[in-house]
């Protein structure tokens, strides 16, 4: 921009400032304030907003902490169910109360929850197991089967396995069985552990 142009612009700006002003029409402020006073806002309760926000945050935090504590208390989250089952089986089982000596107790100190519970029944005769499900071909040294049991049949099947194990004739071929809960719609099946 030339000096002349700059001066022109400054002069123009000055003229605009001097001549461009307008006065608000009479009664404008009055009309606005009449409307303002006619619609009283609940300013008195404005302080409630931060309080409500704090309360919401506190509740969410508490809920989060409670959730974490619960997950921590059981040692597992539900989404880790499968891994938890494997782990429970590997340490030799999780006890179910009132079971006989056929139930091995791996000495787990935590109470199992319904999701992770794995029951191990030792020495179930092979011929009896075959009546439940075809026997899978597992590695030669494995003496354990996993039995997937639909949710509704869990108690009956586990009791049956215990009865069979207790009545096993000496020297009869037998397998240990890890009983795992499955969805109610699942099919009862023996698998390799």
């Amino acid at each position: 921009m030339t000096d002349n142009g700059h001066t022109d612009h400054e002069q123009l700006a000055r003229r605009l400032h001097e001549q461009g002003q307008a006065q608000a029409p009479d009664g404008l402020a009055g009309d606005v304030m009449r409307q303002v006073r006619a619609e009283p806002r609940q300013r008195e309760r404005a302080w409630l907003r931060p309080v409500a926000l704090c309360a919401t945050v506190a509740v969410l935090l508490l809920a989060g902490i409670a959730g974490l504590t619960r997950i921590g208390g059981t040692g597992q989250s539900s989404s880790a169910g499968s891994a938890a089952e494997t782990h429970a089986g590997a340490i030799g089982a999780v006890p179910e109360t009132g079971q006989g000596s056929q139930l091995s107790d791996g000495g787990g100190k935590k109470a199992p929850n319904a999701i992770t519970r794995v029951l191990r029944v030792a020495g179930v005769p092979t011929d009896k197991l075959a009546t439940l499900s075809p026997l899978p071909f597992c590695p030669a040294q494995a003496h354990t089967y996993a039995l997937r049991v639909p949710f509704g049949r869990y108690a009956t099947v586990s009791r049956q396995l215990q009865v069979w194990a207790a009545a096993k004739p000496a020297g009869a071929p037998a397998y240990d069985v890890q009983i795992r809960r499955a969805a109610a719609s699942a099919r009862l099946a023996l698998t390799c552990p």
Partner: protein, 176 residues
């Protein structure tokens, strides 16, 4: 503290707590500037009046959302400018005939003021708004940028081009 002596931000805080008297002080303080802004952008007195009235009512309803980190003036200018732009958009959509109150005078040669305002009215709205905000209202570049919701560089460019066009328009007007 007397309300007349209080800062805009202090009054805005009071208004946010429901103090209508504090808000009234702000209305009295800003009504002329807001009206000028709306009038020079919309080029219509009735529209300008509506923009200011609606803008101030909107501000009262929303004043508890006014953050102290911005200036009250910027905030209220922005509200009224949005209303003014709404008017221009509505006009464009409906091809509503504009009441040309600022350029209607027939005895313009006698009145230099009319020349200037008539020339201003020929600018496109975005250039006009920048010129009005900076030169007539006296906002800084940054404040105008915040009020018009565009970068400061854009304001600078629009202001320069707006003034240039205005100068050319005035020159042509004089020559005729």
């Amino acid at each position: 503290m007397r309300l007349q002596d209080a800062s805009d931000e202090w009054l805005a805080k009071r208004a946010a707590r429901g103090d209508a008297d504090a808000f009234e002080q702000l209305v009295l303080r800003y009504q002329d500037r807001l009206y000028t802004l709306a009038l020079r952008v919309t080029l219509s007195e009735p529209d300008a009046r509506d923009c200011v009235q609606e803008g101030l009512i909107s501000a009262w309803r929303a004043i508890d959302r006014f953050r102290g980190d911005a200036r009250f003036s910027t905030w209220i200018y922005r509200i009224v400018l949005r209303k003014a732009y709404d008017v221009l958009d509505r006009r464009k959509r409906t091809a509503e005939p504009m009441e040309e109150i600022v350029v209607a005078s027939t005895d313009r040669p006698a009145d230099d003021r009319l020349d200037l305002i008539a020339a201003l009215a020929t600018l496109e709205p975005e250039f006009r708004a920048a010129v009005v905000a900076c030169d007539i209202i006296g906002m800084s570049m940054d404040e105008a940028a915040a009020a018009l919701e565009v970068p400061a560089g854009t304001i600078k460019s629009r202001l320069h081009r707006g003034r240039s066009r205005l100068a050319a328009e005035l020159e042509a007007h004089r020559a005729s």
